[in-house]
């Protein structure tokens, strides 16, 4: 009797494990808080489905998903043509939310809302503007009593999407920066000191008078840090906000390529915040295991229906409607 029952029990156990779907994803750090919230809520709503996402960095995320070690990836940086060509699996990049990078500083005796144009920021990092008293900073900030003190530029020491977005913007507005430093997740900074992570940069800026640096908007907002205004392509001074970021994405969506690989820094439009970017989920078009493909498809559907609403609560900018509509079409091909 027992012997007969045994295979049945085994089968039942197997069926149970087959019903439970464990997916693994790896990639960008910046969207980790909202991704982990989405995946926890999604698995609560769909018992048996567990999507485990870990923030190991965009570059590592791309490497893991293209070598098929994880089921999906995530990145703040678009994949290069070479990476797409070398990938073991065909991927589609799905924009999920947007983020922004803001200039932060500590200046004793000077309040928040200082104004920085792109070329001034570029020249601070190139070592051409070394003093807060510089006439070019003063010109953008009439009436502000700037101290006569050396600037301490702080940058992200580790490779990061934040640095990529920031240097991408500076390369667009300053030809000098493009030729001497260029855009990249980690670059050779001519001056300054490097701190690890947003928290390192923020900690350094907060603790060091006369310092200047850049962090993600969500970080500045979450820590009540004061940050500066940046001049956009239309010549307007814009203070970063989720609205300004979504506006930049909407402005750029008109000529967005089919694979969503687009930079929206220095976007046109009077409302657009200039240092903004998408962050992408990298999903296999056809997963090896069709059950996993179905979970991914269902999750993306859920993300567009429910997830996007939660984005702005957490200071992430949601996708503008035209982009969301196009993403809806794209995910229908995921198997």
């Amino acid at each position: 009797m027992k012997a007969k029952l045994f295979p049945v029990v085994m089968l039942a156990a197997l069926a149970a494990t087959a019903g439970a779907q464990n997916l693994t994803g790896a990639g960008a750090t910046f969207p980790n808080p909202i991704y982990s919230r989405w995946f926890i809520e999604y698995s609560n709503a769909h018992p048996g489905v567990k999507i485990n996402y870990q923030s190991v960095g965009s570059g590592a995320g791309i490497r893991q998903v293209t070598s098929k070690i994880v089921d999906f990836g995530a990145s703040d940086v678009t994949m290069t043509d070479q990476q797409i060509a070398e990938s073991k699996i065909k991927l589609v990049a799905i924009p999920s939310v947007l983020g922004a990078v803001v200039p932060v500083y500590t200046l004793p005796g000077v309040g928040s809302d200082l104004k920085f144009s792109g070329d001034v920021i570029a020249d601070i990092y190139l070592g051409k503007i070394t003093n807060w008293h510089d006439p070019r900073i003063a010109k953008d900030n009439p009436g502000v009593n700037l101290p006569d003190h050396q600037i301490l530029p702080v940058y992200r020491s580790e490779g990061s999407g934040t640095t990529f977005i920031f240097t991408d913007f500076l390369s667009k507005v300053s030809p000098d920066f493009l030729s001497k430093v260029g855009r990249g997740a980690s670059v050779r900074w001519p001056v300054g000191i490097g701190q690890k992570g947003n928290e390192g940069v923020a900690g350094m800026i907060r603790n060091s008078p006369y310092s200047f640096g850049y962090v993600e908007l969500i970080y500045a907002a979450g820590n009540n840090m004061s940050y500066g205004l940046v001049r956009n392509a239309a010549g307007k001074w814009i203070k970063a906000s989720t609205g300004g970021v979504t506006a930049a994405a909407a402005a750029a969506s008109k000529n967005m390529p089919a694979d969503y690989r687009v930079s929206i820094t220095n976007a046109a439009g009077p409302e657009s915040y200039p240092i903004s970017s998408f962050t992408w989920l990298l999903i296999p078009v056809k997963s090896d295991d069709p059950a996993k493909g179905k979970v991914l498809h269902d999750f993306l559907q859920w993300m567009l229906d429910h997830g996007e609403d939660e984005a702005s609560q957490m200071t992430y900018a949601p996708l503008p409607k035209p982009v969301a509509d196009r993403v809806r079409q794209t995910i229908s091909q995921i198997q």
Binding site: V56, G57, S58, G59, A60, I62, V77, T80, Q82, Q83, Q150, L152, S157, E158, G159, S160, G161, V181, G182, R183, G184, A185, S186, V187, R188, W189, G192, I193, G194, Q195, K196, G200, G203, M204, N207, S208
Partner: protein, 372 residues
């Protein structure tokens, strides 16, 4: 009385001490074969000298009589497998590093270790500033940590009241358990402002003329990194050296005291002298930890790949550049250059350990009565 004291106080350093060392050897057990035992003892006292010791007659006789030949062989085999596995692990890691950094090795050759350019955008990579940062920060840290650790071990073993010994030892071991991220965060919020506002200006004022403390002091840089490293390797050095000192037989201490030695003389001559090989071992372990430490150093060293004479200037290390850039590196050459940095760290560790070993050899050439 006075005459006696004169003799001891003067002759203490050499003659009386040499005799005192031999005291434990005149034990009944070894009386039958004094010559052999003596020769073995003096040889065994300097294992690092790598002298091939003649097998003790006592021991080989006893071993040939032992009942478990097969069991002994198996045990020896097991132990040698364990030892070999260390060798194999290192070989495996080395091969992984070499295979994955082939591209960079082919592209840059030896220039990789002498070039100081590191520019991911133009694909130009050199490891020199990182090697410099690693070596200097680790050596500085060891220089700071070793005297302190030895003083604390001496305090705990020889001076400290018994009730205080447990808590302090516990506290130092607790330090070994703190994740290095926490050290880094603590350093950013507490240590960096202290280095910037208190320690830095003092050093600049009194030692500025040396040139090691010039330039702007932002609180982050080589010096702060060395201090945090010193704090981190302190528990390793102090716990192990304390245990080694503790193992020095009590009669060695008593012999020194009986000869009229002061406490310091007793510590210097019986404790430190007998424990020095073990102490050097603990220092090498600490140095190893300092060379490979990543997180905390990354958070306070400033991460700027420049070679500067000033200890206030930001620098960077081999381990921190890997930790900083590995997860975001794109492009095959970039990635393989980062892995070659790992290889460079291997080489630095080998060179530094080699030098340390030479030092040990120089220090321990003299005779030590170890574990008599």
């Amino acid at each position: 009385m006075r005459l006696k004291f004169t003799v001891y106080s003067h002759g203490f350093n050499k003659v009386a001490w040499e005799n005192a060392e031999r005291v434990p050897m005149n034990k009944p057990g070894s009386i039958q074969l004094p010559q052999t035992v003596l020769s073995e003892r003096t040889q065994a006292a300097e294992p690092v000298v790598e002298a091939i010791k003649p097998p003790s007659i006592v021991r080989s006789f006893l071993q040939s009589k032992s009942s478990g030949k097969v069991a002994d062989g198996t045990f020896w085999g097991l132990m040698i497998v364990c030892a070999l596995s260390i060798f194999l692990i290192v070989l495996l890691i080395l091969s992984v590093l070499v295979v994955n950094s082939k591209l960079s090795i082919h592209t840059f050759g030896w220039k990789f270790f002498t070039s100081s350019s590191w520019d991911p955008n133009s694909g130009d990579f050199g490891a020199l500033p990182f090697i410099w940062g690693t070596v200097v920060s680790s050596l500085l840290a060891v220089c700071m940590a070793v005297p302190l650790a030895l003083c604390v071990s001496i305090f705990l073993l020889e001076i400290c009241p018994l009730w205080l010994r447990g808590p302090i030892a516990f506290l130092t071991e607790l330090l070994a358990a703190i994740p290095s991220v926490i050290y880094g965060l603590w350093a950013i919020f507490i240590l960096v402002p202290i280095m910037r506002d208190n320690v830095g200006p003092v050093l600049q004022k009194y030692l500025g003329w040396t040139g090691f403390f010039g330039g702007s002091n932002f609180g982050v840089g080589m010096l702060t990194a060395s201090v945090i490293l010193a704090i981190m390797i302190f528990p390793v050095i102090s716990s192990i050296s304390r245990d080694v000192m503790k193992a020095v037989p009590i009669h060695q201490r008593e012999a020194a005291l009986a000869l009229g030695a002061t406490r310091w003389e007793m510590i210097r001559m019986s404790v430190l002298r007998n424990a020095r090989i073990g102490i050097v071992g603990s220092v090498i372990l600490g140095l190893g930890r300092a060379l490979g430490e990543t997180m905390a150093v990354t958070m306070v060293i400033g991460n700027h790949p420049d070679i500067s004479k000033s200890l206030f200037a930001p620098a960077t290390t081999l381990a921190s550049v890997i930790a900083n850039e590995f997860s975001e590196a794109t492009g095959d050459l970039y990635l393989s250059a980062l892995i070659e940095i790992g290889l460079a760290l291997f080489l630095v560790t080998i060179v530094v350990n080699g030098i340390a070993r030479l030092l040990v050899w120089a220090v321990t050439r003299g005779n030590t009565a170890r574990a008599a």
